[in-house]
């Protein structure tokens, strides 16, 4: 018998040996803290919604970083946004692509908003993406950022969106106001100094988006 066969045969026995040394589930008792129960309610609630559909519908506002070959893009209009051409917007019929150029800092640190609207709680996070859930209405709010690096792009589907130019602490950005109640609005702005493009996407007012954006700060220092 080879090792693979032995493992398939014996791993369940090892598992049973591990479980035999533990109490039965029904013998264990613990009063979980309100904070834990709140987080688990959010997780369970998240499962109770057809999230895949919702997220795909939210593709209009999905801040999706992708590395693509330039030949794949057929821009109908390209407008340089900065004198240094660190990022450009490419306008298409149904979407806008933000294409980044340049070499970012090797490590960018971690950024988070210091303020989010009441009712929203963080339910998931990686370094560059945070997902918040409003337990009251089940609405999702996302915060994400990507480095402005050669070949990196992010897109915004513009169907059902009204695009407005805004400023986030003096930095120009684009606010996409959704005209479809099932599609979130979105805010994109680029911090050239940090070499990062930021995005919020959610079911909030323009003022709330701008307030959150102003509160974004670096919460650790790059190594």
């Amino acid at each position: 018998m080879n090792l693979e066969e032995l493992l398939y045969e014996n791993a369940p026995l090892a598992r049973d040996a591990m479980l035999a040394a533990l109490p039965a589930p029904e013998e264990c008792r613990h009063e979980f803290s309100p904070a834990f129960q709140r987080k688990m309610r959010a997780l369970l609630r998240r499962q109770a919604h057809p999230l895949r559909h919702r997220v795909l519908r939210s593709a209009a506002a999905v801040f999706l970083a992708a590395i693509v070959g330039s030949a794949a893009w057929l821009a109908v209009d390209v407008r340089a946004r900065t004198a240094f051409f660190q990022w450009v917007e490419e306008f298409y019929e149904t979407h806008i692509v933000y294409r980044f150029q340049g070499v970012p800092a090797e490590e960018t640190g971690v950024y988070r908003p210091a303020w989010v609207p009441e009712g929203y709680e963080e339910i998931d996070a990686s370094d560059s993406t945070v997902i918040y859930l409003n337990e009251n209405d089940g609405k999702i709010l996302t915060f994400a950022y990507v480095p402005m690096q050669d070949g990196h792009t992010t897109g915004m589907i513009t169907e059902s969106m009204q695009r407005q130019s805004v400023e986030v602490d003096g930095v120009p950005g684009d606010f996409y106001l959704s005209t479809d109640s099932s599609v979130p609005s979105s805010l994109i702005w680029v911090n050239e100094e940090a070499g990062l493009a930021f995005n919020f996407s959610g079911f909030l007012t323009k003022d709330e988006f701008l307030h959150m954006a102003s509160s974004v700060m670096q919460i650790n220092i790059p190594k």
């Binding site: 040996a17 591990m18 264990c28 834990f36 999230l51």
Partner: protein, 172 residues
Amino acid sequence: MLIYLQMIEDEADRTKFEQVYLHYRNLMFHVANDILNDWQEAEDAVHQAFIAIAKHIDGVSEAICPRTQGFVVTIVTNKAIDIYRAKKRRAVRPLEEDTVKLCFRTTGSPVADAIARLPERYREVILLKYDAGYTNQEVADLLGKTYESIHSLDRRAKQALREELAKEGIEV
């Protein structure tokens, strides 16, 4: 964002996840608290474990069964040990390594007993792959590691197992 695309989509999987949660949460806390000896950190470990489990609930064929119980215990043990190691790195004085040891009953099978004697990082990969039935990529995702590191751990786990079995006079 991608995490949501992988989340539970159909009613059966949602029900399964809730069953797993309701049936095993106290046991998972017991396991985590045995390792961490800190109820708040143990709750964090249980929460992290459920986030990982939620993403791979479709790999759970039956909510309440020994295989699923082994799966959730393996995951929460991994999360608790991660928290323990992070705490150890922060500690001014080193913590006692032996508090992370888990108990196993002997099985009568030299191979199963050898699996039980493997270091935790090896054993969890073996159990997730060969008992719970997950792929290297899924194990990497469940444990918060890269595919390459799981591939390497799998290879080293098998080598360590061969060496353990050789001590018993079993060559594979």
